[in-house]
């Protein structure tokens, strides 16, 4: 089955997100239509993978919120701006995570600048290692 997206692309298939939306909040008819659209676009395996991820995070979200855990400190430092921009502090479960102070916010800004380059480098090294191993 050909992939609509090539490795290195960071685009997201609209059919993929439409399928997630239909599973989470759609009627059986919506789900069937979204499943068929994703299947046509990406094949059976992609639909099954997406179904698995939806199932997994339906589980993980409930674990986090039923246990009352806080966001892990390194993630929070990195994500604080995203949290503000996305309005995620409005979620009830945000009460379990205290906002971070100014120093950590500044450090988080620095991290966010270098992170994309570092992650791309890590991915490239991993891909090269995988090719040489194969």
């Amino acid at each position: 089955m050909s992939s609509a997206l090539e490795p290195g692309s960071d685009a997201i298939d609209p059919e993929l997100l439409a399928y997630a939306d239909a599973v989470l909040n759609g009627s059986p008819t919506d789900r069937a239509a979204a499943q068929e659209a994703l299947r046509t676009s990406r094949g059976d395996a992609a639909v099954v993978d997406a179904a698995g991820v939806i199932a997994n995070f339906s589980q993980m979200n409930r674990i986090a919120d039923a246990a009352g855990i806080a966001l892990d400190a390194p993630t929070q430092m990195f994500a604080e701006q995203l949290i503000d921009d996305g309005g995620y502090r409005n979620f009830a479960s945000a009460e379990n995570t205290e906002p971070i102070g100014t120093a950590k916010r500044i450090a988080g800004r620095g991290l966010r600048r270098v992170a994309p380059t570092a992650l791309r480098a890590q991915s490239a090294i991993a891909a090269r290692f995988k090719r040489s191993r194969d």
Binding site: S3, L16, D49, S58, R62, I63, S93, A94
Partner: protein, 242 residues
Amino acid sequence: MIDFGDSSLTVRGDIGEAHATALDDIARAGTWLTGTERVAIAAEVRAAPHSTLSLERKNALSPYAVAGTHESNGPLSSDQIEAIHRITIDPARLSRRFFDESVAAWSTPERYVEMVGVTVRMVAIDTFCRAIGADSQPLPEPVDGDPSGVQPEGLTTGEAWVPMLSDEAMRAEGLSNTKSAGNVVRALSAVPAEVRGWGVLSAAHYVPNDKVAEPSWSNRALLRHEIEAVATRVSTFNECFY
């Protein structure tokens, strides 16, 4: 191994195996709950979306604005059923008050944690089946036996509503091989068997826990950033801050 034959999709074998393992485990006595109690929890996960009382509470401005009790014919009390239903269909509004009342209903934090572990595994299994257009798997028959009652060493309190194992204790229990496990991995660690149960399903549905931190790792048809995009979509829908 579970057959998803009523779906038109070809499903990876590891997913069927993980579901079979989970259902078999749910049927057996756990650490603090009997097989009968655990299967009753699984049944309530399925009953929740059809419960008039639970749906009224979910749709109310506050779930506490709607009075009423759940019909209790089996081993679970009305308050225990309420906790299962809230986690299943209204997870975005779980609060400290919800936790305190639920622990009172379940007697101890450990019994509450085990209930959460069983509940969320059933949510995952049923969500997957619904997503691929398959019928729900039949609930297992409870297996006789007594809960083990094994309390892990190294529980800490104060980091979350529930007690959790320290990172050192997580490694000692074989639940983590990293210096610092994420809080969501530690969340069920007051009952280590529930962390293991979660890990079996999560490795099949998502990625193995030891690969989560590798940003490009995927052996799936979806690329990793696509997997994470779907994860974000789900978490936003569920209004999960974590």
